[in-house]
Each structure stands twice: as structure tokens, then as C-alpha cells.
């Protein structure tokens, strides 16, 4: 099976074609095709994972590729690359996608573009799987862009409302901004790798130090721009909260498995490049970790002022992605991708819960929720589990992975990152407590009668909740040596690198207790504020203190980043460039066009007046007149009398005869 990994992305792609061509005629409007295909992909992924884990270390990565186009010495190929990282991603993507597919049959029931939705969902999954298994950077780019297109299609699923289509365009354009970097990076690294797109080859060269540091730095920075766009890192994170305009299952898919983690996956996949380019082993600060750290804090702060429950979760995702990027930036490779792994479960869970709530109350706003814990018991229970896992409460999924990141930052000599990570943990716990309170406690503030969602939605919630509880144990001694996450989720050839900083780190009680204390403090403080109505001095602070109000306004306006992009950057570009373009258009282009026109007209006139009228007509008229003149002269010869003709004939004959005689003598 390790040799036939190409089947895994192919199945959803086939499903996409089937749904597109025959979806509306299928008994379940195409949903069954998507579920079967993604389910099969998941089963195959499990088989692949079992094979991979079953092999004895040291394992060899398995590559298969075929050349699609040979141009000189450069081959453009398509292929598959299987190693621990691939296996982990295959599991996560196909599993989350399967859950989302099942959930969508309930959530999207009766939607006018139900079939289309499932087609796009299948393609989305196929693209992400294609990206994950690719062995060369070009194929990677293809998957990457396909993921972007699918997210565009799905975020704008309800495009009738301008807001939604705007959000889709924004998501697409913002990620495209980063993609430019990615493309340049891939080209740079193509030359750096001496004319090869193969990722493993490139990584090996980077590891061996065969590529100059400057070249790697340029390539790495460009690639990282792609990551910043795709994984919604500061300062290009603004598209992700707006992407909440899409249907909630799509949000879950984007946030947990298919879209945003592509950026993190890219860093993990090209890790030797980043490692060498940004000198991650030097400690202190570097670009990757600093961007991750900034993202953690700014996104977590924004999560406090959101009313839309999905936006709280969106900013939470941005923040958690910041953790992953920071983890990779501080050299804690395994911790970073482990966080990706656990985060996928609880974030998908939280989004699907939010979807269930929205399905029940028909509003995204927490100000129209409240008191739902009795009305939607399963949604309530699973949401709480998800929140606790996200907050890093001990022995749930998020606790282990976040703790490893903090430990990595600590051990590898990144004290600032450790502090930021702890601050982030505190804020995460606090804003999730706020969200839980606003949704499930207090009085119900909306209209209508909320009800628990159908089983097709609740069952995925229960499954994901179960996994959110246990996923974190995957990297502990409990599952045994062979199954332990850090032992199988590896990239052969780079173990030395990704395990350089004690991947095997034992559970550190002191670090763990600090992070737990911080998380509990966050929950506690936030809980006191909301549940016990304590912390009175904080109430109305934004009304009394100008500083607090200014901060609040800053947060509500999302640091004015959107204004910066749309008004200042786009606006300033739009204004002068548009004017310059207008000037250029009016003066230069129109001048050229008019000049050409006037020239053509002058030439035309000249041709008409001189050549046509004088020369050509002169010839024609002259020929006519000449013919007429000569005719009128010659007509006198033409008397019609045969005898005159005969006389002329004989005279001529006589003349010729005389001439002949004269000449021959």
C-alpha cells in the first residue's frame, strides 16, 4: 500500500467528478459519493499508517515518481513521497474530512447547492491530500493552489449575499499575496537544488550545507511568505476570520485539516531549508518564531472582543497556528506537528459544535445565544470538552501538545517565545471561558426555539470529542514505544535535525505545572468575571478609562489592519496608479492611437488624392481616351467594303514582295 499512495488523493478527486457529472441524479444528491470516497481514503490512510508504523526503525521514505514532461535535463514529474509526516497528515486530513462530510449531510440539508457543496468538499479534500503526498515542489504548488481555489468556492458558497462573496475574494486574494512568495521561493530553491524540484533532494542538500546560506535565506523567506498567507500568520491573518462567511462545516475543514495547516505542513516539509536559512539552532529570535509569537498574542486578544462565535474560534485558530509556527521556529519540530495533530481534532470539534449551535438558534452572534446547555446537551458537553482541550487543561489533547511547544521553547533557548506562549495559554483559556459562558450559560437571549441537532451532526461531535480527550496521549509512554507519535511521525534523513533538541523529552513536571497554572488562572479569572459576577472594578472599564477604551476600539477595529490594507495600501496604490494609468491612457495610449489614426487618414488621403485619383485613374482614363482617339481615327479605315480591304491586302502583299526582292538582291 505504501507504493500506491496515489490512490488516496485520487479517490476524492474521482468523487468530485462523479458528483459534478451525476450528483443530482444520485439518491442522496452526491453526498454518498463524497462520504464513500473520503471514507475509503481514510481507510487507505490507516492502512498506510499501520504499514509505516509497523516497519522497524530506521525507516526509509518511499518515493515514487513519473516524469510528466522532460525539458532538457529538467524533469517535471508527479509523484508520491511517504514518510511519517505524510502519514500523520493523511490520517488527519482524511479523518477530519470524513467527519465533516458526515456532519454536512445534516447541516447542509435542504441547501440549494447541496450537490455542488459536496463536489467542492471532495475536491478540497483531494487537493489537500495531493499536496500532502507530493514529492516535488511543483506538485506541492498545484495542490496548494487547488486548496486555495476550493476554499474560495466554499467560503463564497452563499454568494448571494455580497458580504460572503467579498469574504471569498478577500481570502483568495490575501492568500494569493503569499502565494507569490511561495512561487518565487520554489523557483529560487529549484535553482538552489541545481535544477531539481524534488523536495527530499533539496532538503538533503540544505542539510549537507551544499547550498549557500544567502540563497537559502532568500528561498526560505519567500516560502515563509506563502506560509504567512496560507496559515493566516500576522500580518496576513485578516482573511481567516472573514472566511467564517462560509458554511460552518467548511470552516471546520479549513481550520482543522485542509487549508490553514498547509502552511505549517510546508514549514515542516521543507524544514531543513528553514532550519538552515533562519539559523534556528542559534536560539534567541528568528523570523519564523517571532511571526508565530506575534500571531499568538494579537489573535488571542482579538478573540476577546468578538460577538460572532465562529469568529472567536477563527481567532483562536489563528492563535494556535501561531503556536505551531512558533514551535517550528524554535526548533521543536515534533511538538509543532503534534500540535497540528491534536488541534485538528479539538478545533474541528469546536467548529462543528458552533455549527450545531448556529443550526439550532439560526444566528452566529453570542448575544443571541445563552442558556443552551439544557437545550442542546450533547453540543454543550462536546463543546466544553473541546474548550478544555484547547485551553490546555491537563490530560486533554491540547495540554500535551502545547506543553511540548513551551518546553521546546524553554530548552532551545527562546525565553521570549516561552513567555509569549504562556501569555497565549492564559488568554486562550480566558476567551474560551468567555465563549462557553456566553453560549451555554445565562438566559437565552435569541428568538426561536433551539433544539438539539440531528444524529448525523451529533455523532461526529461525539467521535471528535472522544479523540480530543485521548489524542494527546499519542505522544506519551501510555501508547507504547512503537506507537508513540514522536517515534513514527518523522522524516527519514532529517531525524538528526528534528530530534536535535531532545524530541524524547520526558514530561517536565515544572514546565507543565506552570502552563497548567497559567491556563487555570485564565479560566479562573474569566470565570470569576462572567460566572460569579466578580471583579467589579473591571466592569464598565471601557467607559471609564480612556486607555481601556482606546485599546478596545483598537481591538474592535482589528488593529486597523483591514483599513491599512484596503484604504492605505490598496487605496494609495489605487489612487496614484489609477491616475497615472489614466494619464498614460489619455496621453500616451490615446496619443498613439490617435496618431496612428491621423497618420492612417493622411496616408489615406494622399493615396486617394495622388495615387488613386491621379495615377491610377489617369492610367484608366488615359487608356480609355487613347482607345477612343485611336478608334475614331482608325474607324475611317473600316469602311465595310470588302473590295477596299482586298485592295489594302494586295497593296500590302505587293509592298512586301517588292521589299523581299530588294532585300534578297
Amino acid at each position: 500500500m505504501l507504493d500506491n499512495v496515489w490512490l488516496i488523493p485520487l479517490l476524492p478527486a474521482v468523487s468530485f467528478a462523479i458528483i459534478l457529472l451525476a450528483g443530482k441524479r444520485l439518491p442522496f444528491k452526491g453526498a454518498e459519493s463524497g462520504i464513500v470516497a473520503v471514507g475509503a481514503s481514510f481507510v487507505l490512510s490507516v492502512v498506510v499508517a499501520a504499514k509505516w508504523i509497523g516497519e522497524d526503525a530506521p525507516r526509509e521514505a518511499i518515493e515514487h515518481s513519473s516524469t510528466w514532461l522532460q525539458s532538457g535535463r529538467v524533469g517535471f514529474g508527479a509523484g508520491t513521497h511517504v514518510d511519517g509526516l505524510t502519514v500523520m497528515m493523511l490520517l488527519v486530513v482524511s479523518f477530519i474530512s470524513l467527519m465533516v462530510h458526515v456532519y454536512s449531510t445534516g447541516y447542509m440539508h435542504g441547501d440549494r447547492r447541496y450537490t455542488y457543496f459536496f463536489a467542492a468538499l471532495s475536491l478540497f479534500t483531494a487537493s489537500m491530500l495531493l499536496l500532502v503526498v507530493s514529492d516535488n515542489s511543483l506538485q506541492f504548488l498545484v495542490g496548494w493552489e487547488l486548496v486555495g481555489v476550493c476554499s474560495f468556492m466554499l467560503i463564497g458558497h452563499w454568494w448571494e449575499e455580497k458580504e460572503n462573496s467579498d469574504a471569498a475574494v478577500k481570502a483568495f486574494l490575501t492568500t494569493r499575496t503569499g502565494d507569490i512568495g511561495l512561487m518565487i521561493g520554489i523557483i529560487t530553491l529549484f535553482f538552489a537544488a541545481k535544477g531539481s524540484f524534488n523536495i527530499a533532494h533539496l532538503n538533503q542538500l540544505a542539510l549537507d550545507g551544499d547550498i549557500s546560506h544567502r540563497l537559502l535565506l532568500v528561498g526560505g523567506c519567500c516560502l515563509f511568505l506563502g506560509v504567512v498567507g496560507k496559515s493566516a500568520q500576522f500580518p496576513l491573518h485578516t482573511w481567516l476570520p472573514d472566511a467564517m462567511a462560509g458554511p460552518t462545516p467548511v470552516s471546520a475543514l479549513i481550520h482543522a485539516a485542509t487549508m490553514v495547516v498547509a502552511g505549517v505542513y510546508l514549514v515542516a516539509r521543507f524544514y531543513p531549508v528553514f532550519f538552515s536559512a533562519f539559523s534556528i539552532d542559534a536560539g534567541g529570535v528568528n523570523l519564523v518564531s517571532i511571526i508565530g509569537a506575534i500571531t499568538i498574542v494579537i489573535a488571542a486578544l482579538l478573540a476577546f472582543v468578538q460577538d460572532d462565535v465562529k469568529k472567536v474560534l477563527a481567532y483562536s485558530t489563528v492563535s494556535q497556528l501561531g503556536y505551531m509556527v512558533m514551535a517550528l521556529g524554535v526548533g521543536a519540530w515534533s511538538a509543532g506537528i503534534f500540535h497540528l495533530f491534536t488541534h485538528a481534532f479539538f478545533k474541528a470539534l469546536l467548529f462543528l459544535c458552533a455549527g450545531s449551535v448556529i443550526h439550532g438558534v439560526h444566528s452566529n452572534n453570542m448575544s443571541e445565544m445563552g442558556g443552551l446547555r439544557k437545550l442542546m446537551p450533547w453540543t454543550f458537553r462536546t463543546f466544553i470538552i473541546g474548550s478544555l482541550a484547547l485551553s490546555g487543561v491537563p490530560f486533554l489533547a491540547g495540554f500535551f501538545s502545547k506543553d511540548e511547544i513551551l518546553l521546546g521553547a524553554h530548552r532551545n533557548g527562546f525565553p521570549i517565545m516561552l513567555a509569549v506562549g504562556l501569555l497565549g495559554a492564559f488568554m486562550t483559556a480566558a476567551y474560551m471561558t468567555r465563549a462557553c459562558y456566553l453560549v451555554f450559560w445565562g438566559e437565552y437571549r435569541g428568538q426561536g426555539h433551539p433544539h438539539e441537532s440531528p444524529p448525523s451532526m451529533v455523532v461526529p461531535l461525539q467521535i471528535l470529542a472522544g479523540l480530543s480527550v485521548v489524542a494527546g496521549l499519542a505522544n506519551t509512554w501510555i501508547v507504547g514505544d512503537r506507537l508513540r507519535f514522536a517515534h513514527w511521525a518523522t522524516v527519514p534523513g532529517t531525524e538528526e535535525l528534528i530530534q536535535r533538541f531532545g524530541l524524547e523529552h520526558a514530561f517536565s513536571l515544572s514546565d507543565a505545572s506552570i502552563s497548567v497554572a497559567v491556563a487555570l488562572a485564565g479560566i479562573g479569572l474569566s470565570g470569576l468575571y462572567y460566572f460569579r459576577d466578580a471583579l467589579k472594578p473591571l466592569r464598565g472599564l471601557t467607559r471609564r478609562s480612556t486607555t481601556a477604551r482606546a485599546g478596545y476600539t483598537l481591538l474592535v477595529n482589528k488593529y486597523y489592519l483591514d483599513h491599512l490594507y484596503t484604504d492605505i495600501i490598496v487605496g494609495s496604490i489605487k489612487g496614484p496608479i489609477a491616475q497615472a494609468a489614466y494619464w498614460f491612457d489619455q496621453r500616451v495610449l490615446d496619443g498613439v492611437v490617435n496618431g496612428v489614426g491621423a497618420g492612417a487618414r493622411a496616408a489615406g488621403n494622399f493615396t486617394y488624392d495622388v495615387i488613386d485619383q491621379k495615377v491610377v485613374d489617369g492610367f484608366a482614363n488615359g487608356a480609355g481616351a487613347g482607345a477612343e482617339e485611336s478608334g475614331s481615327i482608325l474607324r475611317h479605315i473600316q469602311t465595310g467594303r470588302v473590295q477596299q480591304y482586298a485592295a489594302a491586302l494586295f497593296a500590302a502583299a505587293a509592298l512586301f514582295a517588292v521589299g523581299l526582292v530588294l532585300i534578297t538582291q
Binding site: L634, R635, Q638, T639, G640, R641, V642, Q643, A646, A647
Partner: protein, 99 residues
Amino acid sequence: MYLSQFLLLAAVLFCIGIYGVLARRNAVLVLMSIELMLNAVNINLVAFGAFRHNVIGQVFALFIIAIAAAEVGVGLAIVLLIYRNRTSIDLDEVDLMKG
């Protein structure tokens, strides 16, 4: 036997023919004059043939006689049609092709 005598006879006949063709107004007489000219040529050919002791001259003469017969046939038919149309065979009056 002197060749020049035959040639002289032929030349005289030819000139009479030319005169007839050019001066006569009656179309039938013009045709007859053409016959004179053709026969003058025949005399020439036969005379040359006899002079050179071969028969080629007589062969040509026979061809010319045949063609002359055809020519007279066509010519008389035309004259007949002109007469039917115009009740006249005066060539001076037949100038339809006047430019």
C-alpha cells in the same frame, strides 16, 4: 519550253483576277475573279513541278482545286443569302461592318 512563258501567263491571269476582285461590283463576278487568281497560282505550281520534274506541284494544284470548289460553294451560298435579304448583290451596298 520556257518556264517564263508559263509564269507570264499566270501573272497575267492573276492580275486580271485582281482587277476583277477590286473593280467588279457584282459579287458573283468577284467570286469568278478569285477563281481566276487561284487558277493562275495552279498554273504556276504545275509549271514549277514540270520544270523540276516532280509531281509535288500537281499535288498542290489538286489541293487548291478542291479548296477552290469548297470556297466557291460557301461564297455562292453567302451571295445567295445576301441576295435574298437585300435583293441585290452589289458589293458597294454591303457595308454593314462600316466603322
